[in-house]
């Protein structure tokens, strides 16, 4: 990332601020349909903010411009035997979008994957940001060290703010060593409740599970429950053996150890491949793991629903007929649901918050983007 590129972007936003001109923030453009409809013709692009400015493998830190392709970062890390901890999903398949995902988009949408159950989400690995607020002012928060409590944590606030507080220009992460080996315990044919109970049993055993998912029976395919273990070879073999033994009563159990197969399996879960190319709406529902099957049942009670569980049951991906409001399945259950894909994109996809929280959010947006020019309305 060059300072000139950041300043240029700041100038553009400052200009728009003084004109009251609304701006649509765009990076690689692969996640544009997430959030409420945000139909703004004038765009501000982060693609000039491209490149890794600092990578210290020995300190587990990487800093990159917001427009840097995720793939470039993952490649640079892999060359040193490291990885982004939170395993960000690629939305292209699910949304049917084209383009190159950028790291700024990952942060703006707080995108995580199956590893979130073990190491937290994008915001948990994010240690620093630079951004341009809605007045064109450049703000930095956090930094490049992983332990930092100096002042307020605007890093977290920026992550998942969908650009409504500012345009991200640079992001810094804590990274982790890539694992030497992976094993996935695979159980076939479980019903939802038993599957989630099995995932819970694995997650409450002392074996450091790094992925816990359940893909329900679809078309002709059997239901599959997946539990991932990662680390050094011997350790993975040991834990897989222990866990297999502990879970053997669950049914048809096997262990996948081939690296390539493991990568494919977890990409299937990460990117929710089960719902690619389907003519359906897709909702993403976050609840306590044991509530997952209840939500799925409530959905099936009202419509033709298929689900995929991640995060031990706490993340429910639901495929439902176009136009379904999946929020009705959350009545009496704590958590939230957001529409990720639908035919009619003008439908409101973001859940309105309760009045007290909405007031705080509105207040924050007004402080960082007083004229409401950045991705206006995308978060409600």
């Amino acid at each position: 990332m060059t300072q000139t590129a950041e300043q240029k972007l700041a100038d553009q936003v400052a200009q728009a601020h003084s004109n009251g001109q609304k701006l649509r923030i765009i990076g690689g453009g692969t996640r544009q349909s997430l959030g409420n409809i945000c139909d703004i013709a004038t765009t501000v692009s982060t693609l000039d903010l491209n490149g890794i400015s600092l990578y210290e493998p020995g300190a587990l830190t990487v800093v990159a411009g917001a427009g840097t392709p995720v793939e470039d970062i993952e490649k640079a890390l892999a060359a040193e035997g490291q990885r982004l901890p939170f395993e960000p999903m690629d939305h292209r398949g699910l949304l049917g979008s084209q383009g190159t995902p950028t790291i700024g988009g990952v942060v703006a949408c707080n995108v995580s994957g199956p590893a979130r159950i073990q190491v937290g989400s994008c915001r948990d690995s994010l240690i620093g940001v630079r951004m341009v607020d809605g007045t064109g002012s450049i703000i930095k928060n956090g930094g490049r060290v992983m332990k930092n409590v100096t002042g307020y944590d605007l890093v977290k606030l920026a992550s998942g703010s969908f650009g409504t507080l500012g345009v991200l220009t640079e992001v810094a992460f804590k990274v982790l060593p890539a694992s030497e080996a992976t094993a996935t315990i695979k159980i076939q044919g479980l019903g939802d409740e038993v599957a989630v109970a099995t995932l819970s049993e694995a997650l409450t055993a002392p074996y450091d599970v790094s992925g816990a998912a359940h893909i329900t029976a679809q078309d002709t395919k059997d239901a599959t429950t997946l539990i991932r273990l990662q680390g050094f070879k011997k350790s993975v073999a040991y834990r897989a053996e222990k866990l297999k033994e502990q879970l053997s009563k669950a049914g048809d159990i096997s262990v996948v150890t081939a690296e390539k197969q493991n990568v494919m399996l977890w990409k299937t879960v990460r990117d929710v491949e089960a719902f690619h190319k389907k003519e359906t709406a897709v909702w993403r529902i976050s609840v306590a793991p044991s509530d997952g099957p209840k939500v799925a049942q409530a959905l099936r009670d009202i419509t033709d629903a298929q689900v995929v569980y991640d995060w031990g049951g706490g993340l429910v991906w639901a495929s439902v007929p176009y136009g379904t409001d999946a929020r009705s399945a959350l009545v009496g259950i704590d958590g939230y649901a957001v529409c990720i894909r639908d035919q009619d994109t003008s439908a409101q996809s973001v859940v309105p918050q309760n009045a007290a929280i909405a007031k705080i959010e509105q207040g924050l947006r007004a402080k960082f983007d007083p004229k409401g020019i950045l991705n206006t309305g995308i978060m409600g």
Partner: protein, 477 residues
Amino acid sequence: MEMPKPDITVLDRKSEIVQKLLKVLPKDAVIFEDRETHAYECDGLTAYRCAPMIAVLPSTTEEVSAVLKICHAEGVPVVPRGSGTSLAGGALPTEDCVILGIARMNGVLETNYDDRYIRVQSGRTNLSVTGAVEANDFFYAPDPSSQLACAIAGNVAMNSGGAHCLKYGVTTNNLLGIKMVMMDGEVVDIGGAYLDNAGLDLLGVICGSEGQLGVVTEATLRILRKPEGARPILMGFNSNEVAGACVSDIIKAGVLPVAIEFMDKPCVEAVEDFAQAGYPTAEAVLIVEVEGSDEEIDEQLAKIVAIAKKHDPVELRESKSAEESAAIWAGRKAAFGAMGRINDYMCLDGTIPVSELPLVLRRIGEMSEQYGLKVANVFHAGDGNMHPLILFDANKPGDLELCEEFGADILKLCVEVGGCLTGEHGVGVEKRDLMSTQYTDADLDAQMRVKDVFDPKWLLNAAKVFPLASSDARRSA
């Protein structure tokens, strides 16, 4: 330490305010006699003291809300207090304030092992959260050194860390939800027993806001199954540079220890005099701890030993048993006590990029000569979180000021090499006036805008975190 002038109009109304508080709280929960309010005059930063006007000890969220409503209406500043262990003066009162202590709210509200969370009242101590679940082999990961005494409310306010956060993260990474009372008395619930939240990450910005955005009365915390076991290895090296390079090589090799502790020679010598832990005479001592089954631990320790051997260690002592582990940790755990026996000390917690370690330690040594004050370094090396302990004599006029000046120079150095002023203790009053070395006016203004939203009158713990000159216009508005 400069603090804002007390508001005379508030002090003049003390008895009236006490009467109002007595209407919403039991008699024993309102403390207003001078001889009693002195109990709240300071926290862990004992160099600064100021008795509050009143202290209140509510027992429920409703009582907290009632107190804040009164203070909000009367324009009375409020300083929230957990257990008062802050090393940064986060709970230091002002003369015209109401101290709001949550110590009476210490219950466990709900425990759920299947979904791996516990919901507690925020006055519960950190260690007793683990205490509530350890019979089931679970634990709460963040482990600040003060964990026996410090409250979850304070942990949330300061985003507390600990020795094991390289693997498990700090408070913010283990906090799922809160119940919080806003300064105007409104009660809000944010997050819950699930992982991702709707809307902006308010939980993320509240955690670490040093009690300036609201009073947290309940917290939902992630609990984890205990690993099968853990064992450390102790290593001695002939220079700080070599020890630093060894840390970096361990991390690069893909081993992620749960803790990497680093002690320099002055620290090791003090510890040996005090605790006779049998540490080697070396320029730098590392303690690295790994977790897992016995075989897994052996595998990781073998990798670490192979790396360490390339760096010509003067000592390698691998623990084979619980007794040996305790012996290795004994010295490290006695470090602060050992320093306290020699003299008064000030403990800083600036964080640096690990690669800058040798430079920073060398510079601290040079500054120690210049200032004529001894300093020992003990710190979490995996994440670059330094803990320089500067020795001074509180009874010697001018020594505290000299020590503070030295400390400020160290923190400025941390920022200069790409790090930060505080890695786990927080800003409080201690580092408030140094904030401008790390942040521009625009950066600080962005943070203060957040407070404007949560606490528009700037009544909650307002004299902390931001340099007084930066926050003056807002505080006196």
